[in-house]
Amino acid sequence: MTNRTLTRRDFLKVAGAGAAGAATLGAAGCGTFTSQLTQLPEEYLPSGGSRMNVVLVIIDSLRKDHVGAYGSRTVKTPNLDEIAKGSLRFTRSYPEAIPSIPARRGIHTGIRAFPFRNWEKWYSEDVGLWGWQPIPRDQTTLAEILSEEGFYNLFVTDTLHQFRPFYDFHRGFHAFHFVRGQERDFFRPQTSESKKKIEEALIGGPNASHAEEIMLQYYANTLGRGREEDWFAPQVFLKGMEFMEAAKGSQPFFLTVDVYDPHEPWDPPEKYTNMYSDGYGGPEPVTSSSGTSDWMTEAQLERMRALYAGEVTMMDAWLGNFMQRAEELGLMENTMFVFLSDHGHAFGEHGYAGKVVTALYPELTDIVFMIKHPQGKGAGQTSDFFVSTHDVTPTILGSLGVEPPAPLQGQNVTPLLEGGEPEEARPYFTAGYHDHVWARDDRYAMFARYDGAEAKLFDLENDPKMDKNISSANPGVAKKMFTDYVLKDAGGPLPSY
């Protein structure tokens, strides 16, 4: 063994070298340790782990009662029904804010759009509904969080309101694709030929001029369609399949497929309409002109319902193709799917057609919400938890074990997949649509104006379709629901614009 005795001189040499090294580091900018910390990379571990892929499917305007798994006996949705067998299906699901854009704000951020504070209309052509605005810059999106976690994010949609870059719904996605041409998307110039097609449409009702504007643009956008693949839902799901194939090599991935159908206008290929209607010869009621429905004959209303049902079935068929492709790609065992709609649509029930602010009945407020876990958790089961659009982000993050950078207002409902309960009980639920609010608990549903006026109350135990307004006989209940539920959730009096 060698003599390892360290002499004083040797120690000084070593210590001197160490001190010189430390001095060099100091000169290189170590300065204050705290400030240096902030400049150091935050990542020192590679990303990875048991990170399943996530596919989020948002279906616009899909009524809950038009899905077989939710009890529809007339509308054919074999693929959604099959998905339901392998999913946890929520029976009391509602958007926290209506319609499309406010609902999507909640979906993408986990933060409620209701009670629509600080709302402003962003440009002259924009929809003038409270809460209809871009995702606020200070809110982080699900895609941004997952991007930080190493997910490859993809987004495909034909929901036209998201196309303007400042709306920010594409934030955090590595690739996004907008399928152009839905509704009043200023996609193609109107021509004499496209304008002529307006004669085929049934235009009328309380918002006839707006409906006509929409249809003139829609016909310009869709002129010359031939194959079924030219319709919007097929285009969206086909692009979704293409993205899914590409993403397979970049797992884990987060794919959002946001399909606008069965939103109006309703003009599915004939084979789908023929499933629900025959012998109709008049102008097509392709849009509802939101308001009272008494401007249409019963035959026209029936035809409108058939067109809608046809569009639901077409969307379902292409959703089935999409799921089939996921299966072929071998993604079912490592991918969680979340399916939900953003709101419904009235077709003459309660005397209204469309999305009428003052008619917050089940046909408008009830949505589809299902979670299909790759390990079959919760498969074939149901939950009556009041789940909502703003629960999507915390649920997806929770299922991946990812902590959000800031507290979210929605809840992680993944414990329900394993028979547990979410962190906080939700004995009631509230929602907002423009200048109206809605609330429900186990017994009652109520909707009213933002200041509590014009309240309508319904006993859900005896009247689940909300046909009989009992507010005058129970003024205390409606007032209590407004105060204890709506104002409490809103954190005080509601704004008005």
Binding site: R4, L40, G48
Partner: protein, 201 residues
């Protein structure tokens, strides 16, 4: 030939210096890779070279030691950890194992498990080595501190602070190698003076 092999084995322990330095610099490497290529994975592909160098160096160190049970346990634990880190990194970034088995993530799990074993093994090795072997105490003490820092950073992701701990872990190995070199130099000088003394006598 035999002497050359003996020499190589004796000084293989010095490989912990480049290995530790690469380890310490790896967060910066990942950051540069992110900036240059849009992904840190280009760097992570190269990262297994750091634990591989440390592994060879550790074997070299162990071969110098007479070694007690604790030190041997530390050595084997750390070696297993390093093997898992190398295997995990290779599986993750070269073979794409987790792309196929994403739910089980065998490569990533191996990598993280390897880090834990490495941290624990290094601490054990560093604590036991001065008692059992011939590595200098002044080299081992900072090494143990560095290993402890590493273990903390391996257990939980601590962001920027974790980066500092991660770098200290690498620097601990550098310091250990440095102490070995200094010790070797001193021994060589002592040996030369002792031989010189005989000649003069």
């Amino acid at each position: 030939m035999h002497r050359l092999f003996g020499f190589l084995v004796r000084w293989a322990g010095l490989l912990v210096v480049p290995g530790g330095a690469l380890w310490a610099l790896s967060p910066i490497g990942a950051s540069i890779s992110e900036t240059a290529f849009g992904t840190p994975n280009v760097f992570w592909k190269l990262f297994p070279s750091a634990p591989l160098l440390v592994l060879v160096g550790l074997v070299g160190l162990q071969l110098r030691q007479s070694g007690g049970i604790l030190e041997k346990a530390g050595f084997w634990l750390a070696s297993l950890g390093l093997v898992l880190v190398v295997a995990g990194g290779t599986g993750l970034f070269w073979l794409g194992l987790d792309d196929t088995f994403i739910m089980t993530a065998p490569a990533y799990r191996s990598f993280r498990l390897g880090l834990l074993l490495l941290g624990a093994g290094a601490i054990l090795f560093g604590v036991a080595a001065p008692r059992d072997g011939d590595l200098p105490t002044w080299g081992l003490l900072p090494f143990v501190v560095g290993s402890l820092c590493g273990l903390v950073a391996f257990i939980v992701d601590l962001g920027s602070f974790g980066t500092v701990l991660w770098m200290l872990f690498g620097l601990g190995w550098v310091w250990l190698g440095f102490s070995l070199a200094v010790d070797g130099l001193l021994s060589w000088r002592a040996g030369r003076s002792s031989r010189g003394g005989v000649a003069e006598g």
